[in-house]
Symmetry: C2
Subunit: 356 residues, 2 copies
C-alpha cells in the first residue's frame, strides 16, 4: 500500500510503499479516508519535534485521521463503521496513565505518538489500531472526521481551564484566542456557544481569509500589529479565558495581563528556548491579587475526542467549507503540506467515503 | 477602649483611644482576645499596601483575630462563644461576590479588608461584625484562634491548586513550600497529612528556629543559597505542588521548573514591580508539554476558615508553641511588631480567655 513518510535526514514527505498491516488480536483494520495536516507535521518535517520508530529509518506521517473499519477482527466494531484514532500509544506495554484512560497526562518517555514520535502515523491506505484507541463517529461526519483530533486538543485545554476555575462560581463571558491558524479558528468555533464575546488575535492584515472566517463566526479580529496582547484588556475588554495557540513565548506571559480578575489562560504552543525580559513582579502580583491562573495542555484523551465529535456536529457547513482550503489525493499530496497565507487547513485523501 | 492604629503619614503603630463600638442589627459585639501580626501588617505600616477608611486619619490594624461574643445582639451566637472574624467586607452594600459567599473572589474596589484597606481592623478591646462574617471555633482553640485566618489563606490556595488538577487523576506525593516565614511554616503543617514528602525553602543558615520547626514537622529544609528553586527538581525531586509564600517574583517563574509533570504551583506573594529576564520559551514549553499549572490566590472565604479550624485542631502543641514566639499585652505591644530572625509569629493580647 501507499504511505506518506519522512525519511531520517530528509525534511520533505514522500510517497513510499509499505506492506498492508495485519491486525493482531484486539486491533481492527481501518481503511483510511482522510488525514489532516497541521503545525506539528511541519515541526516533525523540520526535525524539531518527534522521531522515527525504533529500528526504522522513516516515520509515516499523520495524526489527524478518519477511516472506515475494513476488518473488525473480533473487536466491537462492524465493517463500515467510521472511526477516528487517538494519537498516543503505550511504548512498552501499558502504564498507569493508559490504564486509567489518561494517556494525554503521561510524561515524556511514557508514550509514543502516532505520526509524531516513536510510532508510525495514519497517512497510509490502511492502518491498524487497538479498538480502545478508535472513536466511532456518525457517518455524516465522515468527510470532516479529520478535524476531530485538532478539536479534541482544544476540548482538553478548555476542560482543564474550566477545572482550574471550579473552586468558585465562574461565569465567563469573554474569550480571546491567540492565533488565527487552523487550531485557533477551530477553537473560536468550539467556544462559540459558551461565550458571549469572542476575540481572535493574529498578525495578518486585511483582506485575509482567516479574518473573514473569524467575522463569519461572529467573533472580533484583533490585529496584533495594532493591539498587542498586553493591550487587549484596555482596547477591548479583560478576558475571562485566553486560549494561546501561537507558540509565541511572550504571549504566555502577556496572557496574564489580558485576563480579567479570576480568569484563566490555557497554553498550547510549544516554543523553542527564548530568553526575554518580563515585569515579573507585576505579573506575579496580578496572578495573586486577581486569582488568575495559567494551565498548560498537551494532547487529548478519548473523552476529548468524544466532546470534539459533539462540537464538530454543531459547526456550520459554511465554517468547515471555509476552513478546509484543500483536500488532495495521493497524486498531489505535496499541496497538502503547503504553508502559505491562502492555506488554512488541508488534508490528504486516501479514499472517498461512500455511504452504503 | 484601647486600639492599636497607624495614623496617615506615620509608619509605626500607636495605642489610641476609641469609643467602644455599638452593634447595629445583624451584628454581634465581640471582646477581643488576641490578634496576630503578619507580613501584611508590616506592608500596611510601610505604606505599600492598604489605606485608611474614608474620612478618617487612621487605620486600626489587625486582621487575624479571635474573640469572645460579649453581646450576641439577636444574632445566632451566644454570650461566650469563641469566634474568628473573616476579613473582607462589602464596601457599599453587598455585591455579587459577597452575595454568593465568595468575597475572596471579588476584584479590587469591590471589597474592604478590615485592618488592611478601607475598614478598621480588630486590634481593639472590642469589635463588632455582622454575624455572617464570624466563624465559631471550639473553646479549646481560643488561645490559638488568631492562627485561623493565616491558615485559611493556605487552605484557599490549596483548594484552588487541587481544583486546577481535578480534570484528571492527580495523586500528589511531594510538595515544596517556598518561604519559611509564619505562612510557610503553617502551610507545611497544613499539608502534612496529604503529602508523603514535604520540602520548605528559605535563605536562613543553621542554627535557626524555623529550620528546627521544619524538621520537627518531618519536612526537609532547602537552603536557597545552596539550592535555588530552579535546581530543586534535580537536587531533591520534581514537586507535585509548589506553594509560593515569599513574594520574591523570580520564584513565581522558577516554580514552573520545580514542578513535576502535571504539577501545580500556587502563588501567594504580592511583589512590587520588578523586571528581569526569563527563558520564556523553555517555561512556556514546560507548561504545555507537561500539563503544568500556576494559580494565584488571595484572601479566603468562610469555608476556608472552617477548613483552617480543622487543620488547627490537628496541629501538635509543640508546633504551635514553637511557631508562636511571643504574645504581648498592650503595655508591650511594640514587641509584637518586631521583625527579626528570632521572631516567627506574634500576637497582641487584649484579654485572657478564661473557660467558664
Amino acid at each position: 500500500m501507499n504511505a506518506i513518510a519522512v525519511y531520517e535526514g530528509a525534511d520533505e514527505p514522500v510517497v513510499t510503499e509499505k506492506p498492508r498491516p495485519d491486525p493482531v488480536p484486539g486491533e481492527a483494520l481501518v481503511r483510511t479516508l482522510r488525514v489532516g495536516v497541521d503545525g506539528t507535521d511541519h515541526e516533525v518535517l523540520a526535525g524539531g519535534h518527534g522521531g522515527v520508530p525504533e529500528g526504522e529509518d522513516h516515520l509515516v506521517l499523520g495524526h489527524e485521521a478518519v477511516g472506515v473499519v475494513e476488518d473488525p477482527n473480533d473487536t466491537p466494531f462492524s465493517v463500515g463503521d467510521i472511526v477516528v484514532p487517538t494519537v498516543r500509544r503505550p511504548p512498552n506495554g501499558a502504564n498507569e496513565y493508559f490504564a486509567r484512560g489518561e494517556p494525554d497526562m503521561a510524561p515524556e518517555g511514557q508514550y509514543h505518538e502516532r505520526g509524531i514520535v516513536g510510532a508510525h502515523g495514519f497517512m497510509a491506505e490502511y492502518f491498524t489500531s487497538p479498538a480502545e484507541f478508535l472513536v466511532e463517529i456518525p457517518p455524516e461526519l465522515a468527510e470532516w472526521g479529520f478535524l476531530v483530533e485538532p478539536v479534541s486538543i482544544a476540548e482538553k485545554a478548555i476542560e482543564h481551564a474550566y477545572a482550574s476555575r471550579s473552586a468558585f462560581h465562574w461565569d465567563p463571558e469573554s474569550a480571546l484566542v491567540l492565533g488565527n491558524g487552523s487550531l485557533g479558528l477551530l477553537t473560536v468555533a468550539t467556544l462559540d456557544e459558551s461565550f458571549d464575546r469572542i476575540y481572535c488575535l493574529g498578525r495578518r492584515e486585511r483582506p485575509d481569509p482567516t479574518i473573514d472566517i473569524i467575522e463569519s463566526l461572529g467573533a472580533t479580529y484583533v490585529n496584533s500589529n495594532e493591539t498587542p496582547v498586553s493591550s487587549v484588556s484596555e482596547t477591548h475588554e479583560p478576558m475571562d479565558l485566553v486560549f494561546e495557540a501561537t507558540g509565541h513565548a511572550p504571549h504566555a506571559f502577556e496572557t496574564v495581563e489580558a485576563l480579567a480578575p479570576n480568569g484563566v489562560g490555557a497554553l498550547l504552543g510549544v516554543p523553542a528556548d527564548w530568553s526575554f525580559e518580563i515585569d515579573g513582579g507585576r505579573l506575579h502580583r496580578e496572578f495573586v491579587l486577581h486569582n488568575k491562573a495559567l494551565v498548560g495542555s498537551v494532547n487529548s484523551g478519548y473523552e476529548h475526542f468524544e466532546a470534539a465529535v459533539d462540537s464538530l456536529r454543531r459547526f456550520s457547513d459554511r465554517f468547515v467549507d471555509d476552513l478546509v482550503t484543500g483536500v488532495y489525493g495521493l497524486d498531489e499530496f505535496e499541496a497538502a503540506f503547503a504553508d502559505d497565507d491562502t492555506t488554512i487547513k488541508t488534508a490528504v485523501e486516501f479514499d472517498v467515503y461512500e455511504e452504503r
